[in-house]
Amino acid sequence: MADERKREDAPGREDAPKRAAEPRRERPAGGMGRRAFYLRMVASSIIRRRSRMLVALLAVAIGATVLSGLVTIYYDIPRQMGQEFRSYGANFILVPSGGGGSLSAAEAERAREYFPAGSVVGIAPYRYQTAKINEQPFMVAGTDLAEARKTSPYWFVSGDWPESAGQALIGQEVADTIRLLPGSVFTLTGAAPDGKSFSRDFHVSGVMQTGGTEEAFIFVSLGDFDGLMGEGAFDVVECSVLAAEAELSAAAGRIAADMPGVAPRLVRRVTQSEGTVLAKLQSLVYLVTVVVLLLTMICVATTMMAVVAERRKEIGLKKTLGAANSGIVSEFLGEGVFLGGLGGLLGGGLGFVFAQMVSSRVFYRSIALRPALILVTLIVSVLVTGLACLLPIRGATEVDPAIVLRGE
């Protein structure tokens, strides 16, 4: 700041010829900085001309609202789709019956016989046990990975499914917590139910997103699981069966009668068309987002063009007072950025309300607030407004200072 006080050091002044007689060159100390006055000018222009600026602000805010609302929904649809798709997978599960029931591998295999021939897509047994990575506890699941892949087609795996012993598929949440990527190695420690402690290295073959609680789990093959924990009964067996509900109910009745330690349950699932609708909706939202972005830009650009046209005299005057083109540009850009910021903030908040309304009406679900999205809306809004301002502002620099005396 100190060097700003010397007039000759001010940027862009080198070309100013020296004055013959100088009554006083230095402004007394205690003057405010150029930046402070710049902000004062920009703020005054917006606050004292608020009725004019309201139109532009409204355009930016509405654009930002629709934008952030749609993006929220856009990113939320896959999550909701995951939940819908979940029902595609298992539609029939077996759990140990209450009161000391247990579920053995033989029983799980026998269940296959109760369904019509060729109707079974997959039957995946699961065992669960907690173990630790770096002293942090996680749930480890042992399963027949090939079968799990059939019963859970909605799992989105980045990397590969485990193919050999010593490989693990980990949920996104686990990956985030201990920063693991496909290819990383981690050490699983803990104690088996019989008290024997273990410690073993696993390779991460893939990271998995499901939109459900599985994201907090580590999946390994049944062989590896039994190796760590010792052999034992299954906690749950998930079955995916292509059969009508009546047939499934009949099968459930027979299983319950034949195997007293096992409790069969039907899981409801939605039709495939619903999932297709969701996918189509997502691409529609994407399209609308782009269109809204363009419309907002056009609206802001038009408003700024009117603002510049209306202020030609003011621009001319500032030039007669010695404003350089860069000074004029930075003032208008400052106003644009301020508008974009305020509009973006408003729009980010309102957009969430909008998305929440749409989601609860259309999907009957609520959406979680994402602060990052509000930040992104703010940045995009500032950028879009700034970009939309550039063209009109270029026109502003072309104003001839001679118009001021002529009074046009």
Binding site: P17, A20, R27, G31, F37, K318
Partner: protein
């Protein structure tokens, strides 16, 4: 070295000759009035002298420097440093207070300084109105803000294009009083006016007609200390302008 020298200055807009072969010299501290019917080229001349426009032909020297063919960027810098402008329509920025309007000129010149701007307003009798917006000020008050703004950077030349054209008589007197005081303090002033009363205050009145100098009138009131070295040139210009028009 004269403060301002115009040598054979012409300005044409298409086929319109707004100014035609103007020769004029203004010394430091001189007060010049420019009169003439509407369309005679007064504003065109002010725009050229004020570095807002370039002559089509001829030479303009301001403080000894030839500015007639400078680039727009350099003209802006010269205007910022040497010229103070007063307008008939005041041209205050409507969303800034009186004080801020004065500070804008400081801002573009070098550094805004509230205290100094307030002193300038005090000088034109508007200290109490510093926080008012232009819309809350009368025409006379707005013109005084405009004058305070024109003075704030200590210009070597003050240009006023019909500064009292939009003012009533009382305000005209106030504005004239301020200009008179500036002149006494040594500022050079060129004022365009239709009002003989305003012209009377000046040392010389240049009368423009159809873009040419028709005559130059020396004001008797000032004669006692009218500089001798200029009178020859003035007579010459006077004769030339008169002959062309006769």
């Amino acid at each position: 070295m004269s403060l301002l020298e115009l040598r054979g200055v012409s300005k044409t807009y298409g086929n319109v000759r707004a100014l035609w072969d103007i020769d004029l010299t203004v010394e430091e501290g001189q007060w010049i009035a420019i009169m003439g019917p509407s369309g005679s080229g007064k504003t065109t001349m002010m725009n050229i002298v004020g570095c807002m426009d370039r002559p089509s032909q001829g030479e303009v020297r301001l403080g000894g420097v030839n500015i007639s063919q400078e680039s727009g960027k350099n003209l802006t810098a010269i205007r910022r440093d040497k010229i103070g402008l007063i307008f008939q329509q005041f041209h205050l920025i409507n969303y800034l207070t009186a004080l801020e309007n004065v500070m804008v000129a400081q801002y573009y010149h070098s550094l805004p300084d509230e205290k100094e701007a307030l002193l300038a307003l005090e000088r034109v009798g508007l200290k109490e109105r510093a926080k008012h917006l232009p819309s809350q000020l009368s025409g006379g008050e707005q013109q005084r803000v405009c004058i305070a703004r024109a003075l704030i950077n200590y210009p070597m030349l003050i240009l006023a294009d019909e500064p009292t054209g939009n003012l009533d008589e009382a305000n005209e007197k106030v504005v004239l009083g301020i200009l008179r005081q500036l002149h006494q303090e040594g500022s050079a002033i060129i004022v365009v006016t239709h009002d003989p009363e305003v012209a009377e205050e000046a040392q010389r009145t240049v009368v423009l007609e159809h873009g040419r100098i028709a005559r130059i009138i020396e004001n008797d009131k000032w004669n006692k200390w009218n500089s001798v070295e200029n009178s020859a040139a003035n007579n010459e210009e006077n004769g030339k302008g008169g002959a062309a028009d006769a």
